[in-house]
């Protein structure tokens, strides 16, 4: 118990009358990589958005790195500063250059001196191999480059955990690989990652654990090899047969 960095217990969430999350239990250990898959509308995105409280859960408890997520705004901001997130639609800030996108939060949230923050930002951009685009605006970059910039932006806050919400779903096929490569690299460096994705190749290469969700429930949770070799539930089998 004590070595897990995220503890999710009996979490329930409703959108109006519609229950999106049903009794979710999940533990994530430090440096563990978890891939969440499942059909659309199954609550995958909602689940990881609950971890940094972009969505509120109504029942149950979520503890991130020892901090219980609750109404208290101070707590939430503390958690968010430790949890990086990458979105399907990139969500870069279009009015700022790539460099400013990356250094904005370190300067204003972490109170880092501007020089230091820019140095850090350039280092992270180097990591995702778009340091040459640092002074361009998001609108001038391709989708793959934008998504890599978004990853760099999240990494600039030096988070302990990274959440990926379908990071490659809005990309052209030829750009998916460049983003996945960056993510594989990140995984090799020992980042704790929760990834919602349909890229099963990536999952096989990186994931320690696979989670299959359907209709707001975790249907199957297993080690990666087991999950692909002999899935237990019929729903998982059906899903895998369609996607592979």
């Amino acid at each position: 118990m004590s070595d897990s960095i995220i503890e999710i217990q009996n979490v329930n969430k409703w959108f109006g009358d519609f229950q999106v999350l049903k009794e979710i239990n999940l533990e994530v250990k430090a440096k563990e990589k978890i891939v969440v898959c499942g059909p659309s509308g199954s609550g995958k995105s909602t689940l990881i958005r609950c971890i940094n409280r972009l969505e509120e859960h109504q029942k149950g408890s979520i503890v991130v790195d020892g901090t219980k997520i609750s109404e208290d705004t101070k707590n939430i901001e503390q958690v968010r500063a430790e949890v990086g997130m990458v979105f399907q639609q990139f969500n870069l800030f279009p009015h700022l250059s790539i460099l400013d996108n990356c250094s904005l939060a370190p300067i204003w949230v972490k109170k880092m001196p501007k020089k230091e923050a820019e140095k850090l930002a350039l280092a992270q951009l180097e990591q995702v191999q778009i340091v040459d685009q640092a002074h361009k605006f998001p609108g001038q970059l391709s989708g793959g480059q934008q998504q890599r910039a978004a990853i760099a932006r999240a990494l600039c806050m030096q988070p302990k955990i990274m959440l990926f919400d379908e990071p490659t779903s809005a990309l052209d096929p030829e750009m998916i690989k460049e983003v996945l490569d960056v993510m594989v690299n990140l995984a090799k460096q020992g980042m704790t990652m929760i990834v919602v994705t349909h890229e099963m190749g990536f999952a096989k290469e990186v994931a320690d654990q696979m989670i299959f969700m359907d209709e707001g429930m975790i249907v199957e949770k297993a080690g990666t090899k087991d999950f692909f070799a002999n899935p237990k539930s019929d729903r998982t089998k059906l899903f895998l047969s369609q996607i592979l």
Partner: protein
């Protein structure tokens, strides 16, 4: 079809002939039109009335038809054909518009310049049929400064020059102070301007004669009222827009009712209330100058409009921007100041410019409390027994002044739009 082609090839072969013929017919049309309208001579009167009326159009169209030569090799002609002479319909539209402009511009020119009187110093000098600019010249001082004493007017000028200088100074700020620019424009500049106006224009101290606000007037008053209202209505509007979208019920509903109240009442009522009703709520002995009351009233009124414009910009931003800023650990204020407002304000520059132009053009309404800015002074001057009957010149003059102010504001807003354009 063959005929047409034959005609077209002929056109290209005998380029010059067609050009001269075309120009002749076109000019004949214009000449016919001019003679008809400005000299009362109808050179086509031998034709039936209906056709005679349309001869300018017919002649010019024949002219344009003759010069409609594709790839003639003459750059100007090709441009002309491409832009206004692509087809008969297009040519007819172009000619109609040219004739309409001609029809209006000639009498206007006559009135403004050719028949107008520029020299003299009394009404008797104006004998021509055109405008009497002597009237504007004689009253110019009053139109600019109102009833402000002539000997003291340098104080108004000095104040305006200093404030203009301070406004321009922001442009030359060294780069590392650039982030304080908003603070400078929103807090420091208004305070300095207020002190300047208080001590220099109003006077009463440092040996300067006191001039009561009732005597201020003319264009300088227009500027004073607009300046303060513009500067204050923007931040207030921004706060109201954020307040209206707040999660806190008290803030949300108080912003909402504030906005709906001010949007629901006519400005003239508000001004009237500020003059008549407001003093009744004050404790005895306190007195707020009516100019200040008027500026506060206009500010609050326009702030409500600005708030709604800015709210439009806030709503146009995708939710992902909020998510991204939140996920980086930004709280409410950092999220709005660093991420949301810069984008939203950029989107609503045209809308804000609109509101601001309306504000400037609403200032003449302050006449209801007895303050006479430019238009108010005009109304006063036109009732002067020595100068009866020149209201036209006055209003045209005011129109031109307001147009210059508003056009330059509009140009400035366009340049801002370009400056902050970062995508696409």
């Amino acid at each position: 079809m063959k005929n047409v082609n034959l005609f077209k090839t002929q056109q290209r072969k005998n380029l010059n002939t067609f050009l001269i013929l075309g120009a002749f017919f076109f000019l004949l049309g214009i000449l016919d039109f001019s003679l008809n309208n400005f000299h009362g001579k109808n050179i086509t009167s031998f034709l039936p009335g209906f056709i005679s009326f349309f001869t300018p159009l017919i002649f010019s169209m024949i002219g344009l038809y003759l010069v409609r030569i594709e790839f003639s090799g003459i750059k100007q002609l090709d441009n002309l054909n491409k832009n206004i002479n692509t087809s008969n319909f297009n040519a007819a539209l172009s000619i109609s518009i040219i004739l309409l402009i001609l029809f209006t511009i000639v009498p206007l020119l006559n009135w403004f310049i050719l028949d107008a009187t520029f020299v003299g110093d009394s009404k008797e000098a104006c004998t021509g049929g055109g405008a009497c600019w002597v009237y504007i010249k004689t009253w110019f001082n009053r139109f600019m400064y109102g009833m402000y004493p002539n000997a003291e007017q340098w104080r108004v000028n000095a104040t305006f020059i200093i404030v203009l200088g301070l406004m321009g100074a922001g442009y030359f700020f060294p780069l590392r102070y650039k982030k304080h620019l908003t603070f400078y424009y929103v807090i420091i500049l208004p305070i300095i301007s207020f002190l300047l106006i208080y001590y220099l224009i109003s006077g009463g101290e440092f040996g300067l004669e006191w001039v009561e606000t009732g005597a201020w007037g003319g264009l300088s008053l227009t500027f004073i009222v607009s300046f303060f209202s513009l500067i204050f209505c923007f931040p207030i509007g921004m706060m109201l827009a954020l307040g209206r979208r707040s999660d806190l019920a008290v803030i949300k509903y108080s912003s909402l009712s504030f906005i709906e109240f001010w949007r629901g009442v006519p400005l003239i009522t508000v001004l009237f209330m500020s003059a008549v009703m407001f003093p009744m709520f004050l404790p005895d002995g306190t007195y707020v100058d009516k100019l200040i009351r008027v500026i506060v009233a206009i500010t609050l009124f326009e702030a409500a409009y600005t708030a709604e414009v800015i709210r439009g910009g806030l709503q146009a931003l995708p939710r992902g921007q909020y998510d991204a800023a939140k996920s980086l650990g930004m709280g409410y204020w950092r999220l709005h100041l660093l991420v949301i407002l810069p984008q939203a304000l950029k989107l609503v520059i045209p809308g804000i410019a609109n509101t601001f132009l309306a504000l400037v053009k609403d200032t003449p309404l302050i006449f209801v409390v007895g303050l006479l800015e430019l238009v108010g002074m005009l109304n006063l001057a036109k009732t002067n027994p020595k100068w009866l009957g020149f209201s036209m010149e006055g209003y045209v003059f005011a129109g031109i002044i307001f147009w210059i102010i508003c056009y330059s504001m509009s140009k400035y807003s366009q340049s801002l739009e370009l400056k902050y354009k970062t995508d696409r």
